[in-house]
Point group: C2
Chain length 383, copies 2
DNA sequence: GACGAAATCTGTAACGATACAGTAGCGATG
DNA sequence: CATCGCTACTGTATCGTTACAGATTTCGTC
């Protein structure tokens, strides 16, 4: 009786047609079954957060029906779906994540796996922003899972696999033969890499075209008349090390310049280490006249080294660097920069993992972002 | 029978005393009850992740007992606890987060609420690192919850309250009268603010001592003989705006200098806007000879302005700036910097929210970090 | 007008954990 | 020796959701 009354009330209140009621079950016989689990017969507590039960009570439907209606299942009537959706929206229903996760295993979590150490120049920040920009329109949350790169990089991956902590993973510092990629592929955990691999596994990635960057950098330097070029490269274990080297060497060949060897340090070393090593080079007879820097922070150390050696950028040497932010453009306009849009990378990575989770083919989830030279900061016109 | 056998086997295997077994229930009568819910009688599936059920099966105990043993409940025997802990550790048991969350409401999540816009100079990055450093030793995960500051800052807070998405919240860009603080306090949601409020509500916070920063900056500038000082301040709605102003003005008074008015722009404005405004000032007859910059990125724009106006830092003007990273020290050693350790802030904030969640009194969860002048980058000694 | 199929709705069990209300055994008490 | 209280353990119900296996009604078919 109670249920039926309520159904009619609702139907009347919203002025809807009563057609749907005619064949409702329980309309007359409703109170006969065990009332134990008849959720819709028990009014929900007042201040509590709405659940399927709440909607079931309000609509007079069963919990299952409500669940299926919200999923747009084919065995639910069109009008019922409409009614359920309306009520759900009205009371601001949001599925309980714990309930869903427990039942289905779906976490609605994307995990961003970071080394605590890769934060030197704050690359993470815009990346997180980019990722969240995309996730904002989805049910996904972003969980940051750090690890100490001095330890096992597989640690966080294993944790996620063992505990089912995420539906998808974003990793960076990708290596040509990356054990994390192998593991996640084997275990069918959707992921995307920032950077590419060379294992013959087709997987989603986003990458900056470092080969092109180095190639264009060399072109530009030779256009400035520079012939003896040096490259501050990424650490050799990362994939983009070879990309950058390849571009650099192809550039040397195509534009007619020669390489000055400089392998003692790479962009992972401390600024002090880079400066000291490079200062030595700049003071030697082998000193280069053109520099390609694989990282913005590395460029800072190089500039310091050049100046310590009593030389000047834009005069004794020219320099092109990759830059994820634009303070160099402001402080050292004589340095030529190619902007690496990390925020964009974040967006692309997020889209790719979600695509992977949704089962899109990996080869459609790969993107490469093209470097472009930045123009100098515009001069003020006011004064 | 099965159960009992297993229990003995276990006890023998690890060479433990059998005392505890003598009075075990179910030792003889075990198979009599309804076996339906006797979890321990059903072997767990092979490859699956271990649950309480798994441990219950292996130890021959009930699920409840295992649960309570792992919680070190007082009504569980010491030897049983030991046994359970051992097995749990052996098989790498980790409680299912969804199960706990659904039953208890505890999410084990800390939410970092960010504006998408506050990322200009990548302050987030080291902060995330600091937070995760602390969370690594706890069951907490870090979820990043962004919002567009152009919209309702209460949005994410309401979301967390409505959906019970987190056990604790970290917010920044704190205002003197901050609606988020009021709301979370009312609703008893543990939180911590990066920055202080002025509402008479005692709550956990971590803050940089911006008053002291500005005061010491003025001291230093006057020591350099500067007398006409300007302050690039935070936006007026944030609490640390007044802190910094107060320190600045107290410094002017104590050290005998005068303020040059400069309120058109603040550190939230674009670099271009700051530069244009400041260039105008530098070209006017009112030009200051000492500058205090409330942000590192702001300082970049100020430097550009100074140079556009044909002047030179360390010569025509001196400058002190707050700096969250050290590229200024490298690129503009003539600028004096006070380091703001954002990573430390992250650590302090994380400790404070957790403390708040654990019920520690808020007044014990407040900290202020003291600014210190940085020494210049050490010169290379190698060459 | 019986029968099957289609359409639409339903209850039950389960995911893993915990709160709660027990129960069995045992020694002490009167 | 009945009873009480204590220790150490237990099963049941529940959190919110969904998979699954029915139910019930309607309608077309023979």
């Amino acid at each position: 009786m109670f249920v039926s009354t309520l159904r009619v009330k609702w139907a009347l209140d919203r002025g809807g047609s009563r057609k749907g009621l005619k064949r409702g079950r329980g309309w007359v016989t409703g109170m006969e079954g065990k009332t134990k689990n008849r959720a819709a017969t028990v009014p929900p507590p007042a201040g509590a957060r709405p659940t399927l039960k709440t909607i079931a009570f309000m609509t007079g439907l069963g919990i299952t029906t409500v669940s299926r209606a919200l999923k747009d299942a084919p065995d639910i009537g069109a009008e019922t779906k409409e009614r359920v959706r309306l009520v759900a929206k009205q009371i601001g229903y949001q599925p309980n994540r714990a309930g869903v996760r427990l039942r289905t295993g779906k976490t609605n979590v994307i995990s961003l796996v970071l080394t605590l150490e890769e934060e030197i120049m704050g690359i993470t920040s815009p990346m997180v922003v980019g990722i969240t920009e995309i996730l904002a329109g989805t049910p996904y949350h972003l969980v940051v899972t750090p690890y100490s790169s001095t330890k096992d990089p597989l640690g966080p991956i294993r944790y996620i696999l063992d505990t089912g902590a995420a539906d998808g993973v974003i990793i960076s510092r990708t290596e040509p033969h990356d054990a994390r990629v192998t593991l996640m592929t084997e275990r069918h955990l959707p992921f995307v890499t920032h950077g590419r691999t060379e294992m013959g596994i087709v997987h989603p990635f986003h990458d900056f075209d470092n080969e092109r960057f180095a190639y264009e950098a060399v072109r530009r330097l030779t256009e400035c008349g520079r012939r003896r070029l040096v490259l501050l490269e990424p650490p050799p274990n990362l994939t983009f090390h070879s990309h950058m080297r390849t571009g650099f060497e192809r550039g040397l060949k195509d534009f007619g310049a020669e390489a000055v060897s400089f392998h003692h340090v790479n962009i992972d070393h401390s600024l002090v280490a880079i400066r000291d090593a490079f200062e030595q080079l700049m003071r030697s007879v082998d000193a280069p006249d053109g520099i390609v820097s694989g990282s913005g922070s590395g460029a800072i150390a190089l500039i310091a080294a050049i100046e310590s050696a009593g030389k000047k950028v834009g005069q004794d040497v020219d320099m092109v660097t990759k830059a994820p932010s634009d303070f160099l453009r402001w402080l050292r306009p004589e340095v030529m920069t190619m902007y690496e849009d990390i925020r964009l990378a974040g967006r692309e990575l997020a889209k790719a993992v979600i695509g992977h989770i949704e089962g899109k083919p990996p080869e459609t989830l790969q993107s490469l972002s093209q470097p472009e030279f930045q123009r100098p900061v515009s001069k003020s016109r006011k004064v």
